[in-house]
């Protein structure tokens, strides 16, 4: 919820999360669909750790 308190793990998780959103719209099906699955899994981490709470339906997750 508050950036100054973030640990290194939390910063990395958020970076991965944002990058997966980009991959989730890739033109290659194997990239797109596996990235969506990974995004759904990483969403659990950012939600569990209280880093982000948003919906990701537009990214296919």
């Amino acid at each position: 919820m508050s950036e100054p308190d973030q640990t290194e793990t939390e910063r990395v998780v958020l970076q991965v999360y944002e990058q997966l959103k980009i991959l989730a719209t890739d033109s290659s099906p194997c990239v797109r669909y596996n990235a969506r699955r990974a995004l759904a899994a990483v969403w659990q981490i950012v939600n569990d750790l209280g880093l982000e709470f948003e919906q990701v339906y537009e990214f296919g997750a």
């Binding site: 995004l39 759904a40 659990q44 939600n47 750790l49 339906y57």
Partner: protein, 452 residues
């Protein structure tokens, strides 16, 4: 069916140490943040919620504190059913297009009503099993465990989350859909299962079938963890005792519900007689079911649930009908800061029967019946005689009883039931072995034959 084999407790371990040890003020801040976002999302994307909130003259920006949740109208199951009937297939409470979903389930229909159709997107479905991990890891499940899912693997959502949670933790996970009780027992034995997922009713049934096969699961199997859900039995003391002795395993209570998708509470390894709420994924309220007024710690009331998980079908202030008694986290020695429901789910608001002025709960009867080792299955029959309600408990011994044993069972059981219900007279009937139905999923043990 009893044994004195009991496994050792596992040390306390948290699935999500950051959240499971937050202070109350930090937890409340987190829940308000999620509530505000969830209400905004539902208002902007679900015509059902927009209509309800507009009618109640409340807007998302009116939610400024956790207490403001009380400004939002309740959601009732009948409304969801009406929504799906009016707007087939999935109703107008969906907040994203049904095409975004990748998983379909439905409610069990045990209440006799039309099942609700339920959708999950990828992240919603991942979330369902994520919530189960809080409890299953916290109860002691680890990657080296071998887990058997002893359920039908059908359209009812129950236990699917547990299956995928076991996979997520890294356990060798064995599905047994379509199998018989005997074939499941063979797999438990042959594959060295250490944990079993089942309803309490079915876990008891497996012990009985195993004995018929000459297998004492407590002595002969490696099972040391039972993951129980789908019914209240995991926290009915005598049922838990019966299960723990029958399997030689710790039995944990992990309630969930189809409408929310995931588990919403869990028994931890300390087994304090209560279940922890998953407070970072839900906002739970306890209210008086008649007046809808909020209730304090230690008061029994109806659980009202707001989910921060599944969002394709948002659940905000859903009237669950479950009766609970919330107590502070400090009543468990594990150190978690998540509050507890003492005794688990105590029953359903509509489960209670009034017999000649006495409140009778099926779970209270089960707690007595399970103290009798000779009883394999039971059924509660309520009927009218000259306009006066009567209650009879039919008991099935599984194997024939001598006449004097049968008579003794009848007298002792009716005496205990009468004593625990303020002098209410219970009929007790010992039926032929095997005469009562057995259940694999949720048991249906109450037959109310009264008219009207």
């Amino acid at each position: 069916m009893q044994s004195d084999v009991r496994p050792e407790k596992k040390p306390v371990a948290l699935w999500n140490p950051k959240m499971e040890s937050l202070s109350r003020s930090e937890l409340n801040r987190l829940k308000l943040w999620k509530l505000q976002r969830m209400v905004r999302f539902a208002y902007d994307h679900s015509s059902f919620y927009r209509r309800k909130y507009d009618a109640a003259r409340v807007r998302p920006e009116d939610i400024r504190s956790l207490d403001d949740v009380q400004k939002l109208p309740f959601v009732w199951k009948a409304e969801l059913q009406a929504s799906q009937k009016a707007c087939p297939l999935f109703g107008d409470y969906t907040a994203a297009e049904p095409e975004r979903a990748m998983r379909y389930h439905q409610t069990s229909g045990t209440s006799g009503t039309v099942p609700l159709r339920i959708l999950d997107s990828r992240k919603d479905w991942e979330w369902v099993s994520e919530t189960w991990c809080y409890g299953m890891f916290g109860f002691g499940l680890r990657p080296e465990d071998v887990v058997v899912g002893a359920f039908g693997y059908g359209a009812f959502i129950g236990f699917w989350g547990a299956h995928y949670a076991a996979e997520r933790i890294g356990c060798l996970t064995i599905p047994t859909g379509g199998g018989t009780s005997a074939s499941r027992i063979r797999m438990i034995m042959d594959l060295g299962a250490t944990a079993v997922i089942a309803t309490p009713t079915y876990a008891i049934r497996l012990v009985q079938v195993a004995l018929e096969m000459g297998i004492n699961l407590a002595r002969d199997s490696k099972v040391n963890i039972l993951i129980l859900a789908g019914e209240p039995g995991g926290n009915i003391p005598s049922t838990k005792e019966c299960l723990e002795m029958g399997w030689g395993a710790r039995a944990g209570d992990f309630p969930g519900m189809s409408e929310s998708g995931g588990g919403f509470a869990y028994e931890c390894s300390e087994q304090s007689g209560a279940i922890h709420l998953i407070e970072d994924h839900y906002l739970d309220e306890v209210i008086d079911p008649k007046t809808s007024e909020p209730m304090d710690y230690g008061e029994k009331g109806e659980r009202v649930m707001t989910s921060f998980g599944r969002s394709i079908m948002p659940m905000i202030r859903y009237r669950t009908g479950d009766l609970v008694e919330r107590v502070p986290a400090s009543q468990c020695s594990c150190g978690r800061t998540f509050d507890l429901y003492q005794g688990g789910i105590l029953g359903r608001a509509d489960d209670m029967k009034i017999i000649r002025g006495v409140n009778v709960y099926p779970s209270a009867i089960e707690n007595v019946v399970r103290q009798f080792e000779a009883i394999q299955e039971f059924q509660i029959v309520i009927w009218d005689q000259d306009g006066i309600p009567q209650i009879t408990v039919k008991v099935d011994p599984g194997t024939p009883l001598a006449p004097e044993s049968s008579q003794n069972l009848r007298e002792t059981l009716s005496g205990v039931l009468k004593k625990q219900h303020g002098g209410l007279r219970f009929g007790v009937e010992v039926v032929e072995p095997g005469a009562l139905p057995r259940f694999e999923l949720k048991a249906r043990r109450v037959l109310d034959q009264r008219k009207g």
